[in-house]
């Protein structure tokens, strides 16, 4: 590239800069050896954060799946024919009160605590389910006995006549009541 005017000046300044840099440059062998000594596989922070985010999403999805499967009502078509029974949970949690028996290992204690938690959870779930069913039945009963507040306005003395039809073999005298008055 042919340089003119100010380009020559810039070139001179860059040449001076290059000269200074070359004097200050580290030796190739030094940099090369240090590069060889560096650990080969370096996990970038981006990868780590990506992995952490992926793991968090996975955990959230698993937790959601477990929660949704646990909270789904397990009754089938007999949902509306449930008898109202007192909501006493039938699951009796294992008793852990009192002193722990001698010789009982820590693992066993942990297992017992885990069982207790599971039993409490199951009992709570069952109680909630029963309460929901009772509420459903109460609502259904209330709906079936509901009456409109304006229903009385629609009733009259001739309701029986209006709501009935003439029958076969009915007497003429009674049929007259259907005819207009002359």
């Amino acid at each position: 590239m042919e340089l003119v005017g100010e380009e020559k000046k810039i070139q001179a300044l860059f040449s001076e800069l290059r000269l200074a840099d070359e004097q200050a440059a580290p030796s190739f062998a030094g940099v090369w050896n240090r590069a060889q000594l560096r650990p080969r596989t370096r996990v970038s922070p981006l990868n780590v954060s990506f992995a952490a985010a992926a793991f968090a999403v996975f955990v959230a999805v698993v937790a959601l799946a477990l929660w949704s499967s646990g909270s789904r009502p397990q009754t089938g078509p007999t949902n509306h024919t449930v008898a109202v029974t007192p909501a006493t949970p039938s699951v009796t949690p294992p008793t852990t009160g009192g002193p722990t028996p001698k010789g009982r290992s820590v693992v066993e204690q942990r297992q017992a605590a885990r069982n207790l938690r599971a039993a409490r959870f199951a009992a709570r779930q069952k109680a909630e389910l029963l309460a929901a069913r009772r509420a459903e039945i109460r609502d259904a009963t209330a709906i079936s006995s509901w009456q409109s507040p304006t229903a009385t306005l629609l009733s009259s003395q001739n309701d029986a006549l209006l709501n009935s039809l003439p029958q076969l073999n009915e007497s003429v005298k009674e049929l007259k009541s259907f005819l207009p008055n002359k």
Partner: protein, 186 residues
Amino acid sequence: MDIAELKAELEQHHAACFGWALSCCARDRGEAEEVLQTVYLKILEGKARFRGEASLKTWLFAVIRKTAATEYRRNLLRKLRSAVSSEQVSKREPAGGEVDAAFDRSEEQVRFRLALQHLPARQREALHLVFYEDLSLREAAEVMGVSIGSTRQHYDRGKKRLREVLERTEVDYGISWRGKENPGAV
């Protein structure tokens, strides 16, 4: 190309590579060395592979540029994490002590270096590749990963901007530049 052959080639370009790394790292010597080490490591591991699509020097410079950008982002993240003030993070000015400590530089040279730091990165890169590394505009475009037209624009604007900055900092040769622009004015 086997590793011994590549090593010999790299050694030939080492000084130029260091100069380019310095430019990419805002004249930070430590960072430039770190970048160069990373580049050599990439080559050793085969993460950066020369396929002969461009000249070795051009390819090497492109790798250095990319690595420097990655290192810069990484350092920025590190600094952000350690809650360094944003002013310190965003400014990549060379340390004052570094400017005048290493060499016996003339005042003009110091002003020139500071003026370079005031240029946008692309313009600085274009000027550096053409004037410092003696690359053609086409080769500079390959290194920068942009079109030759774009490189030419960065180059022209860079020259103009450099002149303006140098004139603003009252460098002695401001008169000669003005003289070149308007020869009949003097």
